[in-house]
């Protein structure tokens, strides 16, 4: 640890200070009990969603800092700001954090915030499991971030190709951090997939047929299916890799008769669907936002559903496009090239449907809408360069070059991150009862959007100029210097945009406009029918759904969300809070640390702890309570809904 250099020492110091600071503040203001009772033990999907989103914003900061460090190192030829080892660790953690610990929790956060409300039910199918999913993700994220200061971060790239990441080339605990933390968060993610699949299939309010579901809920349903089919493949790949590294097996080492290519195949059988796991919910968010702020119903609803479903199916038969240059033969490369191009067809249908949703509408340029509108041209560039990448002979020239780096940042930032920002501005009042500031929101949008294009658009040219990803430095004379400098300036713009967003959040918490109506946007779907934030039980009475855009219809027909006045409320059955999910994830954390450092005693303690907490649950009978009618009446009349 001591030989790591001033950068790492500084972060060590900062992390320690921040941790001490948080503990002191919580203790000084006597907030521990409040935190435990209201948040750490909660099984309320809305609160879990908020925790996911807070974690995702923190991880966006971490992954963004990694990105800034990389841009600083690359901004001119022959710089020595980071050395090769540090740079390798930084790009690995950047990719891993952004995909698995930023994009994933952000979209799952929105699943939790919006889906049960959109389908008019009181909770997810398995609230306790939902809490476990969150805490597993959280434990994994903490474990992964710890690598930076304890034992060294992984340095094999976010794809961690074998044989490079095998012990013989990449010894030390760094790579184990990658394997183990992905494994832990993966368990939580699979549980989330099952949870939302069942929630959406079984818990919709009466009258809400599949073809009446809001588009975001549709995207979550389809995404849940992809999760359930794709994540087990990652589990298998990482499991085999961990056995190789911890117990000396040779699944992926050539010297022992293993096949490194097998890892690459397994990784991308998960990895390609994974990019749709983070993009389809963003499509869902854009659909909601665009139809809300164009004040029109979504154009071509059925086509939107069909195209999402076909994207989901196609996403499983294109994975070889990640390694056209690994000698698969022209037949295989042609098949996977054409199947990849085919994804452009349903995606194109969606883009035109969004455009025509605005046709004859009345478009309000709110912050949420700006992100949705900014998404269209940026994602178009990302998607079309994706089609260019799908041409195998052309890919021989683009593969692993900055052309590729630009492409996936255009789809992942222009799609997923823009989607997350759109969702934040859109659902913020629903989550907190306060609107984010629109003025600051516009500053956030323009700085980030311009910075993003300045940072990533020139990368297409760097690719043509022969620059490959993951080089930590380059000599002068290739003509790469100036372009890299421009990109780094763009990265600063994105950083400024992020800071404006954080400032907006802090500012709005104190001075923001309160949402007393529950429906600040004059929106169309059911989550806007209840108060902001929604009460613990979501809906005092389960609504009856009479068509698509249910809330819009109710508003037009002058119906109340609580139905006719004379029918009395009934007590509402709700699950109890539980401290066990967080304790169980602590044991997962301990077992994970054991696997990372090969400290088997720790592993055994951790795994036993997991088993005991699991077993305890089986003997828990008193796991729910009823909210009495008086309390419901009190809450509803305070919200002015009686």
């Amino acid at each position: 640890m001591l030989d790591e250099g001033p950068l790492i020492w500084m972060s060590d110091a900062l992390i320690t200070l921040a941790t001490i600071g948080i503990i002191v503040v919580l203790t000084y203001f006597k907030l521990w009990k409040w935190l435990w009772d209201n948040w750490l033990t909660t099984v309320d999907h809305k609160k879990i969603g908020i925790m996911y989103l807070i974690a995702a914003i923190l991880m966006l900061f971490r992954g963004g800092t990694d990105g800034m460090l990389m841009r600083a190192q690359l901004s001119w030829p022959n710089l020595h700001f980071l050395n090769a080892d540090h740079y390798d660790q930084v790009f690995t953690t950047h990719g891993t954090v952004m995909i698995l610990f930023m994009a994933m929790p952000a979209i799952i956060g929105f699943f939790n915030v919006a889906v049960p409300l959109q389908i008019g039910c009181r909770d997810v199918a398995f609230p306790y499991l939902n809490a476990i999913s969150f805490w597993l993700f959280f434990a994994a994220a903490m474990l992964f971030n710890l690598s930076f200061v304890v034992g060294g971060s992984p340095d094999g790239g976010w794809t961690s190709y074998t044989p490079y990441v095998e012990n013989m080339f990449d010894p030390g605990p760094g790579e184990n951090y990658f394997i183990v933390s992905l494994q832990i968060t993966g368990i939580g993610t699979i549980a989330t997939g099952i949870n939302f699949m069942i929630t959406i299939l079984r818990m919709r309010a009466p009258g809400m047929t599949l073809m009446r579901m809001p588009m975001f809920t549709w995207s979550v349903l389809i995404t849940s299916f992809i999760i359930v089919f794709a994540f087990p493949v990652l589990t298998a790949a990482l499991g085999l890799l961990l056995i190789d590294r911890d117990f000396g097996a040779h699944f992926f080492t050539v010297s022992g008769g293993g096949m490194p290519m097998q890892y690459v195949n397994l990784f991308w059988i998960w990895g390609h669907p994974e990019v749709y796991i983070v993009i389809l919910p963003a499509f869902g968010i854009f659909s909601e936002v665009i139809s809300t702020f164009a004040h029109k119903r979504l154009f071509g609803y059925a086509a939107m559903v069909v195209s999402m479903a076909s994207i989901a199916i196609l996403s499983f038969i294109v994975w070889v496009h990640h390694f056209f240059t690994m000698g698969a033969g022209p037949g295989v490369n042609s098949f996977f090239g054409v199947s990849t191009m085919a994804i452009a067809i349903p995606t194109g249908v969606k883009v035109f449907n969004w455009l025509f949703t605005m046709h004859k509408g009345r478009i309000e340029y709110t912050s949420a809408m700006l992100w949705a509108l900014g998404f269209i041209p940026n994602f178009l560039i990302g998607g079309l360069t994706g089609v260019m990448l799908a041409v195998p002979p052309a890919d021989y020239q683009y593969h692993n070059s900055y052309f590729l780096v630009s492409h996936f940042h255009y789809v992942l930032i222009g799609g997923t991150v823009f989607g997350v920002f759109a969702g934040l501005y859109y659902w913020w009042p629903k989550m907190f009862g306060v609107l984010l500031n629109e003025r600051l929101g516009k500053w956030h949008f323009w700085t980030f959007m311009i910075g993003f294009n300045v940072c990533f658009f020139p990368m297409y040219f760097l690719g043509f100029m022969g620059m490959t990803r993951r080089v930590y430095t380059y000599p002068a004379g290739y003509g790469w210097g100036v372009i890299n400098l421009i990109e780094s300036i763009g990265a600063i713009g994105m950083g400024v945009g992020f800071l404006i967003m954080v400032y907006n959040i802090v500012w709005s918490a104190r001075f923001g406009e309160r949402d007393t109506t529950g429906d600040p946007w004059d929106a169309r779907t059911l989550e806007w029918a209840t108060t902001s934030p929604a009460p613990e039980y979501n809906f005092a009475r389960i609504p009856e759904i009479k068509g698509r855009d249910a809330w819009w219809l109710m508003k037009r027909n002058g119906e109340s969300i609580n139905g006719p006045k004379d029918i009395p409320f009934e007590p509402i059955h709700m699950p109890n809070n539980s401290g066990r999910p967080i304790i169980m994830s602590l044991f997962f954390f301990i077992a994970g640390a054991g696997f990372i450092f090969s400290w088997w005693i720790l592993t055994i303690i951790g795994l036993l702890g997991v088993l005991v907490t699991l077993a305890q649950r089986s003997f828990e009978y008193d796991d729910h309570h009823y909210i009495p009618v008086e309390e419901i009446e009190r809450t509803e009349s305070a919200a002015g809904r009686l």
Binding site: D85, K360, P393
Partner: protein, 279 residues
């Protein structure tokens, strides 16, 4: 409020114009992918251009509709009371924008498949600068950590971190690796292929003219990866023959000691040996 993509369009123009300017002067030096120096790179270049043209058509089409919608249907104080109609969809329009992408994909897929099959065969060069078309030269490329070793089995020569080839002649590079995977990439001559342990992947390349081209590894392989570069020197057949002869007479033999040294991780300067097996 300005429509949200106007600045983007400005950016597009600036970058597009500077791209044209770059292609005008010194492209060869700075943008190797767009100034192919051999038949393999050229066929890939044509596909890149063709796919780019198709994509630009889509971009322009979408951008026109996009800006039309943003400007025409924006909320204004005058249309405050306007209630937009609830439109379910339109099957004619929806079919049109399903069929157009299908046509574009087909227009892209056909040449793609053809070229993909072509590239596994030795390039049939139109720009044959040599009078005699001999049998292709085979060069074994081995990526060690972090250097490139080139073995000429026919010539009994081994070079490190540079490779000499005759111009106008297809070269059969046989790629493998003794350590992690790497990718062998000479952008001016053609796209890359992986060098993988225990696997021989084949890559056909050919240079039209004498010249020197930059090559590098494109697959991350650890600490020395950024410095894993090499030069490809394309020369006339006569120059190449002379080089082979001179090397066999003057270059040292590959000793066991040097060979062991090469297999250890580390960076080395270019080297030449007059044998391919260590003794």
């Amino acid at each position: 409020m300005k429509p949200s993509g106007r600045r983007l369009r400005g950016l597009f123009l600036v970058v597009g114009l500077s791209m044209l300017a770059l292609t005008g002067c010194g492209t060869g030096k700075y943008i190797p992918v767009l100034s192919p120096q051999g038949p393999v790179a050229r066929s890939e270049y044509y596909l890149i251009i063709w796919s780019f043209v198709l994509m630009i058509v889509v971009v322009l089409g979408v951008f026109v509709i996009y800006f039309y919608m943003l400007v025409k249907y924006r909320a204004r104080p005058e249309n405050k009371d306007y209630v937009p109609p609830e439109i379910e969809g339109n099957s004619r329009w929806e079919s049109i924008w399903t069929i157009i992408p299908i046509i574009i994909v087909i227009a892209l897929a056909i040449p793609t498949v053809a070229v993909t099959y072509n590239l596994v065969q030795p390039p049939k060069s139109a720009a044959a600068t040599t009078a005699t078309k001999e049998t292709p030269i085979t060069i074994d490329v081995i990526s060690e950590r972090w250097k490139w070793v080139f073995k000429y089995p026919g010539q009994n020569i081994e070079t490190v971190n540079y490779v000499n080839i005759p111009a106008g002649q297809p070269i059969d590079f046989e790629l493998s690796s003794t350590g992690p995977m790497n990718a062998f990439w000479v952008p001016a001559l053609g796209g890359m292929e992986f060098a993988m342990p225990s696997k021989d992947l084949k890559l056909w390349l050919e240079a039209d003219h004498p010249g020197t081209y930059d090559g590098r590894s494109a697959q991350f392989s650890g600490r020395g990866f950024a410095n894993m570069t090499f030069k490809v020197n394309s020369m006339t057949q006569a120059q190449f023959n002379a080089w082979v002869q001179k090397t066999q007479q003057t270059a040292p033999k590959l000793t066991k000691q040097t060979d062991d040294q090469l297999q250890k991780p580390g960076l080395v300067s270019p080297m030449t040996f007059s044998s391919i097996e260590p003794e």
